[in-house]
């Protein structure tokens, strides 16, 4: 089992960042390669640019703690846990932490690699949203 953790400082309040990542249907807007998704209750199905369909289970969606957790349940992922946490640094900036734990270990690197780009895009979207507000 391997865990990779990346974080991004974002010049937007935590509530604004959460408005991006806390919406489970928003993932195609910020995770590189995910082109669409459907959400039904705690089930999310993502569709990737390679043409794959991957089922996911949403484990936690806590708007008070700004914590989101999900699991990719496709068979190749023997174990996966993704968590996204947003914490306020001050009234106009925050940090977003994206952690990936997976078995086999290589998958943590592959998914974690995607989360680097996801964090950048989350930051860009949140900062744009904050600038417009």
């Amino acid at each position: 089992m391997a865990t990779l953790r990346y974080e991004q400082r974002i010049d937007a309040p935590a509530e604004v960042v959460w408005s991006v990542v806390g919406d489970p249907t928003s993932i195609p807007q910020w995770f590189p390669g995910i082109v669409s998704c459907e959400v039904e209750g705690s089930r999310r199905t993502i569709h990737t640019a390679t043409g794959l369909e991957m089922p996911e289970e949403i484990l936690a969606h806590d708007s008070l703690e700004h914590h989101f957790a999900y699991r990719i349940t496709a068979p190749i992922y023997r174990y996966h846990l993704g968590t996204i946490d947003v914490a306020a640094l001050d009234e106009s900036s925050s940090t977003c932490v994206y952690e990936t734990t997976a078995v086999p270990d290589v998958l943590a690197l592959i998914i974690g690699g995607g989360t680097i780009g996801a964090l950048r895009e989350i930051g860009r979207l949140a900062e744009a949203r904050f600038a417009e507000s």
Binding site: A2, G33, A49, T50, P104, D105, L107, I110, G113
Partner: protein
């Protein structure tokens, strides 16, 4: 009209696998003929001995420490300089057919264009260019991809999955259940990454790459120049060529490589002279990089496994040579035989039994660093055939293609156009080539810098988890062409060592803008 350019690359092919370079196993008449008609380089080095950094250097004319794709799994920035973009700007039609690998393969989301393109069903996409414009991806207006297997999202794999699903099982499973490079043995000898493959030859990726190249060439017109990068995935492992072709090189009749130490004692003695990670890998104590099977111990490699791997490698090399012959024939049918520059090379070599090892890694010796390179200029320019013994580098390819197209060397290219003779090499200062290695994966990081001159191969190990910065290797290429005797600590070579170390320092401090090192986002 300018000169058309056919750029042919293979993957992981040693210098000595071509007949014209002294190879004894594979018959390579088409490449041998190109070499005799053109310029054959006797000491060409890659900028890196793994695929992604080396291929990025071909495209950008930059060393990995400049272009930023510093190890496999680190994507070349989308807006990195590209010789294909220059040629596209100059009016060339531009295509890359086969293995690209500027972007990581293990990318289930398809966040990289190489992995998404086949599913998108378009010949290219628009991406940012290095000069702030947007244009076709990396300068190519046609892209069609293949790699070593039939799984995944690339064009060849999708074609096989759709058209010939019954043949998929014949291919070696490149990765194991843990997504590491597979150690599973096969063939007659149980060698890793070997499998008898019942796929018909016509469906194998070597012929597919040639077929798709011919199809693209047949769509081109006399009125427009073109640059076509035809990139074969072989003879990189897995060694699973079509079973129908195996009789070409019966493995039991294959001689052991001259640099394969037959006894374990000799192997260990040779490895103990080198930097410590060599022996650590051999013994199974450390796997320093993803490119070799994580669960395979080199000390278990048998002489028969070396024979069988070399035989299968030779079969793959022969199939490539025949595929090249078909493409050259197609060019002749189009009436372009005298108007096309053909450049052939590979991205890096393969240990293939040398020192009792297989595959590749931070092991800077000729097995991995001495590459076949042939440039057959268009017959219409009347260039004289030549053999160039001066050290040259793949970093010169981008400038060479600019030169062929009549374009000036771009400011971003760190390499000058290849010399056309040893006199030209001497006049233009081709007296060294540098190869870099950087890797950091799962707690092991290794950093090597090597310089090759006409006389020496010298490596310095920078501090990492395996080295403290004091280790190195120095080989006298005249007395020790197999690099068996490490002179690094010998007092009588201290002045040579100092001079070569100074060359590496100058390389490290060379002027020029560097891209930010890219993020490691996949193992390969």
């Amino acid at each position: 009209m300018g000169r058309k350019i056919l750029f042919i690359t293979t993957d992981q092919q040693r210098y000595d696998t071509l007949g014209v370079n002294g190879g004894q196993l594979a018959r390579t008449p088409h490449l041998d003929r190109l070499a005799k008609e053109g310029i054959r380089y006797e000491r060409c080095q890659p900028t890196s001995v793994v695929c992604m950094p080396s291929r990025a250097s071909m495209l950008t004319g930059q060393f990995p420490s400049t272009h930023g794709a510093w190890m496999n799994g680190v994507a070349l920035a989308e807006d990195a300089p590209s010789v294909a973009a220059s040629l596209h700007d100059a009016g060339y039609a531009t295509a890359l057919i086969g293995k690209a690998h500027f972007e990581p393969f293990l990318d289930p989301f398809g966040r990289f264009a190489e992995n998404a393109l086949a599913n998108l069903g378009v010949p290219t996409i628009e991406s940012p260019w290095f000069d702030g414009r947007r244009g076709v991806h990396r300068g190519f207006d046609y892209l069609e991809f293949a790699t070593h297997g039939v799984l995944g999202p690339l064009h060849y794999a999708k074609w096989m999955q759709a058209q010939h699903p019954e043949a998929l099982e014949g291919f070696y499973p490149v990765l194991d259940g843990d997504l590491n490079v597979n150690a599973l043995g096969g063939g007659d000898s149980g060698a890793p990454q070997v499998k008898f493959n019942d796929v018909p030859r016509d469906w194998y990726h070597t012929d597919w790459v040639a077929d798709r190249t011919i199809s693209w060439l047949n769509q081109q017109t006399d009125e427009r120049d073109w640059f076509c990068w035809m990139s074969f995935p072989d003879p990189h492992h897995p060694w699973d060529p079509p079973r129908s072709e195996l009789a070409r090189v019966p493995w039991r009749e294959v001689d052991l490589p001259v640099n394969y130490p037959v006894s374990a004692g000799e192997r260990e003695s040779l490895l103990d002279q080198k930097a410590r990670h060599w022996r650590a890998w051999y013994d199974g104590r450390v796997v320093s990089n993803y490119e070799a099977p994580a669960k395979w111990v080199p000390a278990t490699l048998t002489a028969n496994q070396v024979r069988e791997v070399n035989a299968l490698n030779a079969v793959e090399v022969e199939l490539i040579d025949e595929a090249i012959g078909r493409v050259l024939g197609a060019l002749a049918l189009k009436g372009w035989g005298d108007d096309v520059d053909v450049v052939f090379t590979t991205d890096h070599g393969e240990l293939q039994g040398d020192f009792g090892l297989l595959f590749k890694g931070p092991y800077h010796v000729d097995a991995l660093m001495r590459l076949p390179l042939i440039w057959r200029p268009a017959a219409s320019i009347g260039a004289s055939p030549a053999v160039v013994s001066a050290p040259v580098s793949l970093v010169s390819l981008a400038a060479t293609f600019h030169s062929i197209a009549g374009l000036p060397r771009p400011s971003w290219s760190e390499g000058a156009a290849l010399p056309t003779s040893d006199v030209d090499a001497a006049n233009r200062g081709f007296d060294q080539s540098v190869t870099e290695w950087d890797s950091a994966l799962f707690g092991v990081d290794v950093h090597v810098r090597s310089v090759v001159t006409r006389d020496y191969l010298y490596s310095e190990y920078l501090p990492g988890t395996m080295h403290d910065g004091s280790e190195g290797e120095l080989y006298d290429l005249a007395d020790d062409p197999l690099q068996r005797t490490n002179r690094f600590e010998e007092a009588e070579f201290s002045s040579v060592r100092s001079a070569l170390s100074e060359r590496l320092r100058e390389h490290a401090e060379r002027p020029g803008e560097r891209a930010r090192p890219g993020d490691l986002v996949a193992p390969v």
